[in-house]
């Protein structure tokens, strides 16, 4: 029988993998995709809690999260494009203009 803890396990594993990717990869676009993965993992956890709680507050919260995530992706990708136009790279190691 699949219970709440199974969904929470999958959700937290997905979050952990997304976090792993953010730390490991150097490409800004891949880091951004991993961030999206973490957001989605949180959504899965919220829906599971909402289902087992019996209300629909969690579902509405996920609805708002998806809206905000869509806006955030549009703005973030525009920033990455502007960055690429200026520096010709999307590798985080070469984006060290604030270092000195």
């Amino acid at each position: 029988m699949i219970g709440l803890e199974h969904y929470i396990t999958v959700s937290s594993l997905l979050f952990a993998i997304g976090f792993f990717g953010v730390l490991l990869r150097k490409n800004t676009l891949v880091i951004y995709m991993c961030l999206e993965l973490m957001l989605n993992a949180a959504n899965l956890g919220l829906i599971a809690f909402s289902r087992y709680h019996g209300g629909m507050g969690g579902n509405l919260f996920v609805f708002f999260i998806i809206t905000v995530a869509a806006a955030e992706v549009a703005v973030g990708l525009a920033i990455i494009v502007a960055l690429f136009r200026k520096r010709q790279t999307v590798e985080v190691e070469e984006l060290n203009a604030l270092r000195n």
Partner: protein, 167 residues
């Protein structure tokens, strides 16, 4: 029967997530991410959140990933195979991953979750009608603020993508 589906889709989601992290080619990574999002939409269906499953496919697997692929192909990023990931980065990532896994184990060994999981309540009308009702009564202010946020995001993207005149 739903148990089998749960295992199929969660394994597909986890495999896709690992594919995103480890694929050398960014386009392949985006494809893996689409697979993960679709598997998660199936998990939403198993949790009887049908409307959110549709939204997940339309907004995430559709709009967001098309935007991602568009930008990846527009930038035409050089293959970063030559760049070696340093040992420090690997160690830090694996330690961070391990700490989160410890957190998962700790959460799942809590008694309160098992008690809660034992009793599955009736699915409380997560229909489109009740969604709309809640959005326009209890959550009216967040709804308006979200609409305003979308407007701000649109203006921001236009301002960011415009060519700067100074240089």
């Amino acid at each position: 029967m739903t148990d089998i589906f749960f295992y199929i889709f969660s394994i597909a989601a986890l495999a896709g997530a690992f594919g995103v992290v480890f694929s050398r080619n960014t386009v392949n990574g985006a494809m893996f991410l689409i697979g993960t999002f679709l598997s998660m939409a199936s998990l939403f269906v198993l949790l009887e959140a049908y409307f959110l499953a549709v939204i997940q496919v339309l907004v995430y697997a559709g709009a967001v990933m098309v935007l991602f692929l568009f930008i990846i192909m527009l930038l035409d990023v050089k293959e970063s195979a030559a760049r070696k990931t340093s040992l420090y980065t690997w160690a830090a990532s694996v330690i961070g991953f391990g700490i989160l896994i410890v957190g998962v184990v700790a959460i799942n060994s809590a008694d309160s979750i098992r008690e809660k999981a034992a009793s599955l309540p009736e699915a409380t009308g997560v229909s489109l009608k009740s969604f709309g009702y809640e959005l326009f009564t209890t959550y009216l202010l967040p709804m308006q603020v979200t609409g305003f946020l979308l407007l701000i995001a649109m203006i921001g993207v236009i301002a960011l993508s415009k060519k700067a005149k100074a240089d």
